[in-house]
């Protein structure tokens, strides 16, 4: 599902590469944690997979598509097969939970009728049934992140990327979000999560890839934070 082949990424003006000759493969349906200290290059992986940045060297293959050679006008369509969740939720403050999720559908050309059918369903799935018409400021942090997960998942992507999704949440709420991601993973969606929350990694016991100074130092099935 995801292949990084000898990927090096050096940002302009950076003294050393963020990722240095990284090779890793992730199968369909896997749940993978990327861990490591701040600035180790974890988030660069998410950006590479989304084609927000291009690798300096090497090849990135997502869903059998070579992202490195993807034409820029094809990027939007490519991103529809990837859902994405961030630490800061990135919800639209002037839209309700329902509208936030529906917005993601409408801007990729789905009709209002489709939105009316699938949005309540996905909000129910993430446990927000009955709170469809609340605005983000009327929801707790955990609930806001659930809206974000619903938005990422509503289009049934093949891959869900999560960049520190529990970074702004307390431990209990974090675990609820993890249960949700786990449930999404069980539907067959590949989940790639970047985190430095050792608690969560230790509880989930999933594949752990540890990065330090842009290199993979550990790749362990059913691993712990270490």
């Amino acid at each position: 599902m995801i292949q990084l082949e000898n990927v090096t990424k050096t940002y302009p003006k950076a003294s050393r590469p963020s990722l240095d000759d990284v090779s890793v493969g992730i199968e369909k349906g896997e749940f993978v944690f990327f861990i490591g200290p701040s600035g180790s290059g974890k988030s660069t992986i998410i950006k590479l997979l989304l084609h927000e940045v291009a690798p300096t060297r090497g090849k990135v293959v997502v869903n059998t598509k070579d992202v490195t050679t993807l034409r820029s006008w094809k990027v939007p369509h490519f991103r529809r097969s990837i859902g994405c969740v961030f630490q800061d939720f990135r919800l639209l403050p002037n839209r309700t939970a329902y509208e936030n999720v529906a917005f993601a559908l409408e801007v990729i050309g789905k009709t209002k009728a489709v939105a009316r059918r699938v949005v309540p369903e996905v909000l129910e799935l993430v446990g927000l049934g009955g709170k469809e018409h609340r605005y983000p400021h009327e929801l707790s942090g955990g609930e806001q992140q659930r809206v974000a997960v619903a938005r990422a998942f509503v289009n049934r992507p093949l891959i869900l990327l999560a960049d520190e999704p529990t970074g702004n949440l307390d431990p209990d709420t974090s675990i609820e979000i993890m249960r949700l991601l786990d449930r999404i993973n069980r539907t067959g969606t590949t989940v790639v999560m970047v985190t430095h929350d050792s608690n969560i990694v230790n509880q989930m016991r999933r594949r752990v890839i540890e990065i330090e100074s842009g290199r993979i130092v550990r790749d362990q099935a059913r691993g712990v934070y270490g």
């Binding site: 989304l50 820029s72 006008w73 990027v75 939007p76 369509h77 490519f78 991103r79 529809r80 990837i82 994405c84 990135r90 639209l92 403050p93 917005f103 993601a104 409408e106 801007v107 990729i108 050309g109 009709t111 209002k112 938005r151 289009n155």
Partner: protein, 291 residues
């Protein structure tokens, strides 16, 4: 649905930043008005050239002491010249009669001129008025000729003034266009900034580039078209008030300005306003909405 969404975004966008929108429309309309005036003037000069150049003659005035032999020589030279399409001869008496008719409004002036003060002349129409120079060179050395005058050189002076006006208004149009384009760019930047969250989400979930950019570009296009319509309205009212009423006397010399030509400015100005705004907006977005 998508069309409705885009149109709604355009209206909200224009209204959100309404002072900037108005400034954009005003500068756009002044610039397009000047452009329209310039194009109209150009068309007018062109039309006048066609009209007058078809009418103009070269006048060959003869000296008062011209002999019959000299006159006959001149006559045959003109008739034999391949450049000439038509030739008429005007006696002193004919010239005087014509002069009396021309200045019938000023009898005192007519009285001061006697029938002998006006020279006899040949009036020649050339096949190609542009060839005046070579014709004049061939004829002006002959005995008995006082002066060879081409009406064209007189007309050219008038046309040069019009051309000056035309270039001037084109210059002002370009100058205003710079201001208008900077305002378009600025408005688009502000709009992109105020919608940065929506744009970020749209990029994230894979909305196509045109869908992200269309509301911004259309916002500029709508402002450009409104500016064009206002500019055209000013042009049209100006034409009716000034040329058809206040300065009507001028139009009798100018050859009339056809309403059809003025109407032609509407699609022209709208097209220029729309395309120029769209391109400016699109270029601005390339810098501010990297995809």
């Amino acid at each position: 649905m998508r069309l409705k969404y885009v149109l709604n975004e355009v209206l909200v966008g224009l209204w959100r930043n309404v002072t900037m929108t108005i400034a954009m429309i005003i500068t756009m309309s002044v610039s397009l008005f000047m452009l329209g005036a310039s194009v109209l003037l150009y068309m007018q000069v062109d039309q006048m050239k066609n009209y007058y150049y078809g009418e103009i003659e070269v006048s060959i005035f003869l000296r008062s002491d011209v002999t019959d032999a000299q006159r006959a020589a001149i006559d045959s030279t003109i008739s034999g010249n391949p450049l000439v399409s038509k030739k008429t001869y005007e006696t002193r008496q004919e010239a005087f009669t014509r002069f009396q008719q021309l200045w019938a409004d000023s009898p005192d002036f007519v009285k001061s001129v006697g029938p002998d003060s006006l020279p006899e002349s040949f009036r020649v129409k050339l096949k190609d008025p542009e060839k005046y120079k070579s014709f004049a060179d061939q004829i002006s050395g002959m005995e008995g000729i006082q002066d060879v005058i081409d009406q064209r050189t007189l007309l050219d002076k008038v046309f040069n003034i019009f051309n000056g006006f035309q270039v001037g208004s084109l210059g002002v149009a370009a100058f205003m266009a710079v201001a208008a384009l900077l305002l378009v760019g600025n408005t688009i930047q502000v709009a992109a900034y105020s919608k940065r969250r929506e744009v970020a989400v749209m990029k994230l979930v894979g909305a196509s580039n045109w869908f992200i950019q269309a509301p911004f570009v259309l916002e500029a296009v709508v402002a450009g078209v409104i500016g064009a319509v206002i500019g055209f309205a000013v042009l049209f009212v100006g034409k009716v008030v000034l040329l058809d009423h206040k300065l009507q006397a001028l139009t009798s010399i100018l050859t009339p300005v056809h309403n059809g030509n003025v109407w032609l400015m509407l699609p022209l100005l709208m097209g220029v306003g729309a395309v120029v705004s769209a391109v400016t907006a699109w270029i601005t977005l390339r810098f501010y909405l990297k995809v």
